[in-house]
Amino acid sequence: MKRYVIRRLLQFLPVVIGATFIIFALVFAIPGDPIRALSGDRPLSDAVQETLRERYNLNDPLLIQYGKYMLGLLQGDFGTTFSGRPVNDIIVQRVPVSIRLAVSALVIQGVIGGLAGILAALRRQGFVDSLVQVSTTVLVAIPTLVLGMIGQVVFGLHLGWFPIAGIDQGWYSYILPGAMLASTSMALVARLLRTSLLENLRADYVRMATAKGLSRTRVVGRHALRNSLIPVVTFLGADLGTMLSGTVIIEGIFNLPGLGREVFRGIQQQEGTVVVGIVTLFVLVFVTLSLVIDLLYAYLDPRIRYD
């Protein structure tokens, strides 16, 4: 196991280098001149423009720019914005918002999606099952962008149950955006757990557990559920990317001052350093969480051995 973790950590290097380079190159390739965009209607003098270009290494070729950026990154420096603000500051300030959003979404998707899946499997072809089947189909079919806006209008504006935007009301502010971010994955978790549990309830070891005189609760809750979680965890690992890109959309819609909104704004304003810095952070988070999920997977299914 230890060797596996070390090997996986070593694999981080090419992934991080490759991912950051692609992002860097894409931002580099955005048409237009960031300095001219910065100056707006009143053009800056050529000398000032030249100084700025020099400071942000904009005259260097792509590879040199990238190399200089990565050198800084190795020392924990995510770069500075055109207004002179360190990207590190932005990250430190925005991270808590994004983490709260992600945690809300994960809790909603795990608890509601999980419960829906279990209830549907236990009452197969009953009312709950049909309800879960229909509602999950609807949720999966609607893109996060559309669903986020509908949710904002219905639950925020018309019903007034949740704040429409911002984070003024603490954790309560995160419920609606968290639910909208979770919706697609929640529906998939419910369906996956339903199918997987139904399959496991027919397994021989469930019959054996029943024959051992164990209660139905124990047979389902300990024996069948534990096995049914394995594909769900696999799915969550593969779904991390959807989750991260979803934060960009949801933070934009609900005006949450998190990393996603900062990336969104960075792309609009051609703030290369902000975009590359935050997306690099996303990549690091993604690879780390993938590793955690893989280790969790091995814990859930002892037949999997990584060595």
Partner: protein, 339 residues
Amino acid sequence: MTGPALEPDVTLSATAPVLEVRDLSVEFRTPHGTVNAVNGVSFALDRGETLAILGESGSGKSVTAQAVMDLIDSPPGFVTGGEILFHGQDLLANRHLHHQVRGQSITMIFQDALSALNPVFTVGWQIGEQLRVHRGMSRRDARARVIELMELVKIPYAAARVDDYPHEFSGGMRQRVMIAMALALDPEVLIADEPTTALDVTVQAQVMALLEDLQRDLGMSLILITHDLGVVTDMAHRVSVMYAGRVVEEGDVYSVFKNPAHPYTEGLMSSMPKATHGDQKLVPITGAPPSLANIPSGCPFHPRCPYMRPDTCVNEHPPLREVVAGRRSACHFAEEVFS
């Protein structure tokens, strides 16, 4: 958990059987029609006795065992009639008692130990689970008892292997783990459903020998469900032969196999190779077992039977009746077959 209902009635148990099944019927209602898996099966099991239930796949032997354990998925399966008496009390009439008895007084082992053991828990955890749940033992006490049980079923290095997972054991060892699990609560009756079918021949013999020793040493009653005549002759005291969801012949193993009183049993005997007769010709039973959704009229065996008489066998269902003392057969012409 052990209520007064579970205590064996001492006055009765001296004479009455531990477990008695009377006229049991089970059907499966499928979209394609009703499948009559078990049609009026009766048998009795005495204390310390080994009863073999012999039959081909689809004869209803496993479904009978599942009904005794209340393991039939309902729907589609329904027990439509009969009684399952444990120390004289009908378990079908008392679901609560049935579930108390299941897993504690009557336990069961299955054919394929790999799929019957939960892949994500250690064998120690799975064997000890019942001790913790039903006996309220602490983790530590349960673990000590689990190691004893694993030694009882002759798993080598039990103390070192208690924390291993099922996939880390060989097929024979997994079967032993399942036997240990079934023995954990000192059952009175053990039902073994094709316990060795999935194993290599040499391992089969070892597991059978183990079951035989345990049954004798622990004084359990054993129901052995099998299609293997060899296993029946080696292990069982009595045998019930099943065909198309019915018991067609019953008696002590020696006399049944020496002189069958039902054409189906006779057919089974002559289709089995015997090591002692090198030049013996095998005679298979003609035809195929009937579909349980469409059982032939009269005697269900009549389309395959060499003794068949058109009018009687096609129209009249033969009841299971005594042919000579201790021998019963469900054939209109049992005396003719017997002599």
